[in-house]
């Protein structure tokens, strides 16, 4: 292939463009056509190469030029990422609006982070220090965070000079002895994982403030959770709630091929919500990536990688990052669409055969790691899956399950009954119980594990009993089973169900979950005692104390009402026992 500076387009088919005339490497970023649209080389043929273009190609014609930037698809990382909202290739949407109005047009370049903003940089290394890759050279204050400025991967050496002071991200703040300039920002290729020292076994949960997840199906910091569900089951509300209330330091929210109005909701809401951990607006710990379903499909494919790369960057500063990807199915479909235009041999349901590899590579970038600079940080990945027809046997769900240790199965039937979170407690699982056992023992309750198992046992028993109830009605069950059903109902309504839109119930601290669990057991134990003492089940079921449990979860400062509820339950049962003595 000739090595001219300009190549030439020979074929255009939607986002897929074929060109020839210059030498390119796989994954090089190229500029396509007169408008210099951004594209990436995805296939090289004998006499030509194929580009996926991140913008709309209407009007692009054969013969127009193609130039090679010789750089892989990268994001710019450095101070100034937090609070931003990007499209799928890290162009700030705010700047795109200034440049091209309310509608997304083409051919506009924008820096990923503000190059004019001045930061107060404090160097933490000095001349003569030997720096490894990703070494921390100093800090700046980014909102509430001490942002650690790092060397890029693959750069190391002795410091020749470094200075503190006020700089923009593009100013040179120092030099290494080999002449390499040090800046506050650098470019990080998105398709390769950022390097780290070693992976560690996760031992702490990502506390979400959502009872059903925290109690029954916890995900570890550094873990992977899959959240599949048919439409209307609440995937997005779940993702948003976890983004809001989890105890992550940083949240990266990738809206991948989803609704525009939902992103607007996040944008309108987040700046006004206060992070319970830091007391600062939530937007200040959040990076949003919004590539809605009608934005270019190739950029949708890229958006997931852009998200996880930014997540890894904050992880390397020793922070716990939660990445929400909504929805990975749209990402897989984008891959399918590009693959089909390349006329590749399809695998299951038309998805490319490399779907499972891509999914595994992506989720494996999550984890708790010791970073190259000696920090300990984590990326937790929570991927929503939108299975076609709500059928979990489809390829994206199945391939995700092979790498995800948490399976949060959303259920249309529960959603239809307005049981939210509509996660099916019998089908879902978490494989982190084991590794998180010590944490819960220390931070929630010493009997935590046993209690959770017991609750689950009651729910399972309910499921078995319900089959009988549907045939003969609950009145014909033995009395102790009627009580079990009632306890299960309390678990479902007061523990599992949670109102994401209630100003108190939307966030439930671990200790409060534990107190509610104890209430359930209190009811069960005193009910059993009453039953043994000869009180008929129908009298026990008619007690009012159980309804007060609902009020406990709706109170911010619930200690008073908690002890009142306990008293009500106990005294009601005692009275019944007296009555039947």
């Amino acid at each position: 292939m000739a090595n001219d500076s300009k190549g030439k387009i020979i074929r255009v088919s939607g986002p897929v463009v074929e060109a020839t005339g210059i030498s390119v490497a796989m994954s090089d970023i190229v500029r396509v056509g007169k408008e210099e649209l951004m594209g990436e080389v995805i296939k090289i043929e004998e006499n030509s190469f194929i580009i996926q273009v991140y913008e709309n190609t209407t009007g692009v014609r054969p013969g127009e030029p193609v130039t090679n930037t010789k750089l892989p698809l990268s994001v710019e990382v450095g101070p100034g990422l937090l609070g931003s909202i990007y499209d799928g290739i890290q162009r700030p949407l705010e700047i795109l609006e200034k440049e091209m109005g309310h509608f997304i047009k083409r051919g506009v370049d924008a820096d990923g982070i503000d190059h004019k903003k001045v930061w107060d940089f404090k160097a933490t290394v000095k001349k003569g220090d030997t720096l490894t890759e990703s070494a921390i050279v100093g800090t700046v204050q980014e909102f509430d965070f001490t942002h650690k400025v790092m060397l890029p991967n693959r750069v190391s050496g002795k410091v020749a000079e470094i200075k503190s002071g006020k700089f923009t991200v593009s100013d040179v703040i120092g030099k290494l002895e080999d002449g390499t300039e040090i800046k506050m920002s650098h470019f990080q290729p998105v398709r390769q994982a950022r390097k780290f020292n070693s992976k560690l076994a996760p031992a702490e949960p990502l506390t979400t403030g959502q009872r059903v997840y925290d109690v029954f199906f916890p995900v570890a910091k550094g873990g992977v959770a899959a959240l599949p569900g048919p439409f209307g089951a609440g995937k997005t509300v779940t993702q948003q709630s976890i983004a809001k209330w989890s105890d992550a330091d940083i949240v990266i929210y990738v809206g991948c091929g989803e609704r525009g109005n939902e992103m607007t909701e996040v944008l309108t809401e987040f700046p006004h919500l206060i992070d319970p951990k830091s007391g600062k607006p939530m937007m200040e710990r959040t990076v949003l990536i919004a590539n809605t379903s009608n934005m270019p499909v190739a950029a949708r494919e890229a958006s997931i990688y852009v998200g996880i790369t930014i997540a890894e960057y904050y992880r390397d500063q020793g922070l716990n990052v939660a990445l929400m990807a909504d929805s990975t199915s749209r990402w897989a479909e984008a891959m399918r669409e590009i693959s089909s235009r390349l006329e590749e041999m399809p695998g299951e349901e038309g998805y490319p055969a490399y779907l499972s590899t891509k999914l595994a590579n992506f989720y494996e970038r999550a984890g708790l790691v010791e970073t190259l600079n000696g920090e300990k940080g984590s990326v937790t990945a929570i991927g929503a899956v939108s299975p076609a027809g709500g059928d979990f046997s489809e390829p994206v769900t199945q391939n995700t399950l092979r790498v995800a240790k948490c399976f949060w199965a959303l259920d249309a039937k529960l959603a239809e009954k307005r049981h939210y979170w509509s996660i099916n407690w019998l089908n879902s699982y978490s494989l982190y119980h084991e590794s998180l056992r010590d944490y819960f023992k220390k931070n929630a309750d010493k009997n935590w594990e046993a209690k959770v198992k017991e609750l689950m046992g009651i729910l399972q028993e309910e499921d078995a009993l319900m089959e009988i109830v549907q045939l003969v009605g609950s009145d014909s069950l033995p009395e102790n089973q009627q009580i079990t059903l009632e306890v299960a109902k309390i678990i479902r309504e007061h523990l599992l169900q949670q109102n994401a839109f209630h100003e108190v119930d939307r966030f439930c601290p671990l200790q409060k979950s534990n107190d509610l669990i104890d209430l359930v057991f209190l009811f069960r134990d005193s009910a059993s005692k009453a039953l043994e003492a000869g009180v008929p089940a129908r009298e026990i079921l008619a007690t009012k104390g159980q309804y007060e449990i609902a009020t406990v979860k709706l109170e911010e400062d619930y200690t008073k009402i908690l002890s009142k509820t306990k008293k009500t339950i106990e005294s009601e049962m005692e009275e019944l026992i007296k009555k039947y003595k």
Binding site: R11, P62, G63, L93, G232, G260, S293, E333, E349, K417
Partner: protein, 458 residues
């Protein structure tokens, strides 16, 4: 290019596709004109390469032979827009069907750029449809896309027309406009639609695009884009609230599949193209509001679920993009209840944003939740009654059973011409709630019950 070159180099014709050889460099998506015995046909470039261009014809390839003249027009597909389009009846590709003049105004690309998510305004107020079940329980919000999932033989067309006639914004003097996009409907339905709009006078505040079942299927892909481009013009340049009703999306998707097959693409689920999600999103995502502008585009797409199957790719992909759905039920239809809206599987995701004090009424959401819960329980009990008989039920359950009945007969049931004001809908809801003892209405605060609750017997 000063002179637009003409070619007579068609090498292949397959379905709606024409393959043209040895052209000048042609732009992707460009408009193409074919001359067949003096008659014009239009098409669009689907793929362009050095030596071969694939053109998709809008009006069928009948009569196309290898000697037909092909001209590339160096511009994408457009529609001419100005205020005079209001009140017009047009074909699926914007030709007059009402004996009026051809369109005039600014040529506007119909492809439609995506709204920058950062520029979107948050939908926050409702549209009154005058249909009680929709207004109370699946409230339509300005800027929302809320499809109607129907089945063949159900009354979705009547419902669509009724909403088109009745829909309005309340408590706001901005203008309201309906854009109606019919895709692949029968001539009989087309006539009915047109007549309904004309007779009710609704046509003055409407634009109709009608693509009939016997029109070329490729045209069907253009119709909603024409309609939405017109809607965006009125919403974002003229600050009106525009409701776009699109029927039937199923026909649209069939065309999409047909063309995908003709292009010999690798099919996705059930033969529909793998990019159907993206393609539908390009339509549905054009609903919305823009920061700093008062107009809105609201969509009410209607689709018939093949075999009443909600998991079929068309309703499935639609449901993943749209903000809820209104589902029609065959069982209700058999009971002669119109509109046969099954509220249980129906949902409006944006309802919380567009309802409540200052928008609808402070008790709206709670009443809706309460009615929903009681109806769901009452309906569940019907199964039990079939086994054990009504006598075996407790009084409490009997009341719920009755509630489900009067909900369907008094609240849901509504005349074709009956336009219920929102307040009337709320009164009706409280009336049926009055059959339930006050303390059993657990989802409504006492404060609200003090104001509105009154015991009734129905």
């Amino acid at each position: 290019m000063a002179v637009k070159k003409e070619y007579k180099t068609i090498s292949r014709v397959a379905g709606p596709l024409v393959f043209v050889k040895k052209t000048h460099p042609v732009g992707y998506g460009e408009l193409v004109e074919l001359k067949i015995n003096g008659e014009q046909k239009f098409g669009q470039v689907l793929e362009t390469a050095d030596d071969n261009v694939v053109v998709q014809l809008f009006e069928g390839t009948q009569g196309v032979d290898k000697d037909v003249t092909v001209k590339f027009l160096d511009e994408p597909l457009t529609i001419k827009l100005d205020d005079s389009i209001q009140g017009r009846v047009l074909s699926g590709i914007g030709k007059p069907l009402d004996n009026g003049p051809g369109l005039v105004g600014t040529k506007t690309e119909i492809g439609g750029a995506a709204i920058n998510p950062y520029s979107r305004g948050l939908p926050d107020n409702f549209i009154q449809t005058g249909i009680s079940s929709i207004d109370l329980m699946t409230t339509l919000v300005r800027g929302q896309k809320l499809p109607i999932f129907s089945g063949s033989g159900l009354t979705h067309n009547d419902l669509a027309l009724q909403i088109a006639r009745q829909a309005k914004v309340v408590g706001d003097d901005s203008e309201f406009l309906v854009v109606f996009a019919a895709m692949g409907i029968t001539n009989e339905d087309a006539l009915k639609f047109q007549r309904s709009f004309e007779e009710s006078g609704a046509i003055d505040n409407a634009v109709l695009f009608i693509n009939k079942a016997d029109d070329p299927s490729v045209e069907r892909l253009v119709t909603p884009r024409m309609a939405l481009t017109a809607a965006e013009y009125f919403a974002f340049e003229k600050n009106k609230h525009v409701l776009v009703i699109m029927t039937d999306v199923t026909n649209y998707c069939e065309s999409l599949r047909e063309i995908g097959a003709a292009r010999e693409e690798i099919p996705g689920r059930r033969g529909y193209p793998g990019y159907m999600y993206t393609d539908l999103a390009e339509l549905y995502e054009r609903a919305g509001m823009i920061k700093g502008k008062t107009g809105s585009v609201t969509q009410l797409p209607i689709l018939t679920m093949p075999g009443d199957d909600k998991t079929h790719p068309i309703p499935d992909l639609t449901g993943y993009i749209t903000e809820g759905q209104v589902q029609l039920g065959r069982e209700l239809h058999r009971k002669n209840i119109y509109p046969s809206i099954d509220v249980l599987p129906s949902l409006s995701r944006l309802m919380g944003l567009g309802t409540g004090k200052g928008k609808t009424r402070e008790d709206h959401k709670k009443v809706a939740d309460q009615v929903f819960a009681l109806y769901a329980e009452g309906k569940d009990l019907r199964g039990l009654v079939a086994i054990v008989g009504e006598e075996a039920l407790s009084d409490r359950d009997k009341r719920k059973l009755n509630f489900a009945k009067i909900f369907e007969e008094k609240f849901l049931q509504q005349g074709l011409e009956e336009d219920r004001e929102f307040i009337k809908t709320m009164d009706l809801a409280w009336e049926i709630l009055g059959t339930i003892p006050r303390e059993e209405l657990v989802k409504i605060d006492n404060k609200l019950k003090d104001i509105y609750y009154k015991e009734t017997k129905l």
